[in-house]
């Protein structure tokens, strides 16, 4: 297995051959990895794959370590031509996958010959697919990460048709997984939250609204925040806080009263009160919720 995979994947190509060419960028496809934590005090967002488990799985399927960079698509997928033969895998949002027009499996290692086009189709369930290629996307790291940060503009630009992205050398044989079971995405997004730190800025009725009402994912949701539509939360006091640190998963409530769930490209400080915080392990589901999906916030304990 190893002996067969390595000579084909590795070694003899010139560095310029280890690249992919963007054939169809899709509405928004970005390079993502595990982000750049530890720089929030400089105003640098965490960034990184919104559906981190899907990013990790895609990497594992092609033999990459978790920090290798993948492509994160949005709704419409993308298509790339590989200049060199490589193993690829698509996870996250379910979608049709094809190599040079022939159907290929989703959620499994796929051999892509040199010069062939890997087409990641529109999402049929979920919103964001992850495309890993053996060796990872070898864009230049910024502060230790190759992630595209749409708030502050760090990292590589979002993909554009015709762009060329370098690939790293394969790390080793792909994981021994034939196919990956997929739990699917619930018709309703249920997000547990811990109240605070600024729940006292809301009336009891306002907090009840947060914990009981059905909101919907707004079409304005993006990598910075999952905006919601629904009944506004009643405030106990007006005005703004002095700016304070904002966590990933914050339910920040701007003056319109509608909670915004902070995702990975969120601003690191802000002046609107945070009514509660959704633990990180629930954010992957939020990242896959298409606009219009009903959302419930459930108070923990």
């Amino acid at each position: 297995m190893t002996d067969r995979a390595r000579p084909r994947d590795g070694g003899d190509h010139a560095p310029a051959d280890r690249a992919l060419v963007v054939v169809r960028a899709g509405v928004l496809t970005t390079v993502q990895d595990l982000g750049r934590p530890g720089h929030a005090h400089l105003g640098v967002p965490r960034s990184g794959a919104l559906d981190e488990p899907a990013h990790r799985l895609a990497n594992r399927l092609v033999g990459n370590p978790a920090p290798a960079a993948t492509l994160e698509t949005t709704l419409t997928g993308c298509a790339v031509r590989l200049r060199t033969a490589a193993t690829a895998a698509v996870t996250g949002a379910a979608c049709p996958v094809a190599v040079d027009g022939r159907p290929a499996p989703w959620g499994a290692p796929v051999r892509v010959p040199a010069g062939a086009v890997l087409d990641v189709g529109p999402a049929t369930h979920g919103l964001r697919s992850y495309v890993a290629v053996a060796g990872g996307i070898d864009a230049e790291p910024v502060l230790g990460s190759r992630a595209t940060d749409l708030l502050s503009g760090l990292g590589p630009d979002p993909l554009a048709d015709g762009a060329v992205l370098p690939l790293g050398r394969p790390y080793g044989p792909p994981a021994a997984a034939d196919a990956v079971p997929h739990a699917g995405f619930a018709a309703e997004l249920v997000l547990p939250f811990r109240p605070g730190p600024r729940d006292d800025w809301f009336t009891a009725a306002g907090l009840r609204t947060l914990a009981t009402a059905v909101f919907r994912v707004s079409p304005a949701a993006n990598r910075i925040g999952l905006r919601t539509e629904g009944p506004p939360l009643e405030r106990a006091r007006d005005g703004e806080l002095p700016s304070e640190g904002m966590p990933l998963g914050a339910l920040q409530v701007p003056p319109n009263g509608l909670p915004v769930l902070f995702l990975h490209d969120h601003p690191t400080t802000g002046g609107y009160p945070v009514a509660g915080v959704v633990p990180e392990r629930y954010l992957a589901a939020a990242a896959q919720a298409v606009p219009g999906t009903p959302v419930r916030f459930v108070r923990m304990r």
């Binding site: 400089l42 700016s243 904002m246 966590p247 802000g270 633990p279």
Partner: protein
């Protein structure tokens, strides 16, 4: 004024839980937030804040995330004896400024002085980065006395040029890149506030002392970092 001879003391504070691994520590005074931030950095460097991933100071708070046991830390915090913030222990970062901003006259009117006095007062102030945010490399600088605090512009500008030096509320700041903004602009600098290829990337980090130095002619400062970035892909 704080002085280095003040003893370490417990700080009046409230520790608010933030999710499962975070704490937002709220203090009564900005000076106490500075002191606690410095203490937290010392303890993080000593490895006595297990798991901590982010330490984000702000106006009246310090936010910690990634803590292994935020409840235990919240219980210990009121007993910490925290020394006052160290002053004058390092030279300030000097930022050359052409004081020719579009709001210079407005600021002079708000302060009740001449534009020349604005330059004298602003460049004569010992600033310090209270915290960062808004954009990578954007520091909120404190140091102006209360009587020199000014409101934001009633209508924000859609585009503020990179390097603009502005005032808002108690703060002075320098725009690290062109962006929309509502601060009162009094001048402009060629200093590169943010360059991810530089180590450190941010010219200003929380705690950095800063002085603005008036210059009259355009400063031909090297802009290698930004230029290099723009040629990449």
């Amino acid at each position: 004024m704080t002085s280095g001879s003040e003893p370490a003391r417990p700080l009046p504070l409230r520790a608010l839980p933030v999710g499962e691994h975070g704490l937002l520590i709220e203090l009564d005074r900005a000076g106490d937030a500075e002191a606690l931030h410095a203490e937290l950095l010392r303890r993080a460097a000593d490895g006595t804040l297990p798991g901590v991933r982010e330490i984000v100071p702000a106006a009246r708070t310090v936010f910690l995330d990634g803590l292994a046991d935020p409840g235990a830390l919240a219980a210990q915090l009121p007993g910490w004896r925290v020394p006052p913030p160290a002053a004058g222990d390092r030279p300030p970062v000097e930022i050359p400024v052409r004081y020719d901003g579009p709001d210079l006259a407005d600021v002079a009117a708000l302060w009740g002085v001449t534009p020349e006095d604005v330059v004298r007062l602003h460049s004569g102030t010992a600033f310090r980065v209270a915290f960062c945010g808004f954009a990578p490399g954007f520091g909120y600088l404190t140091g102006l006395p209360v009587r020199l605090h000014v409101p934001r512009r009633a209508t924000p500008r859609t585009r503020v040029p990179v390097g603009s030096v502005g005032l808002a509320g108690p703060y002075t700041g320098v725009y690290p890149r062109s962006s929309p903004g509502g601060w009162q602009l009094i001048g402009r600098t060629d200093a590169v506030l943010w360059d991810p290829r530089r180590e450190p990337a941010a010219l200003l980090a929380p705690g950095t002392p800063v002085r603005f130095v008036p210059v009259t002619a355009p400063v031909p400062a090297p802009r290698t970092g930004r230029a290099a970035e723009e040629t990449t892909r």
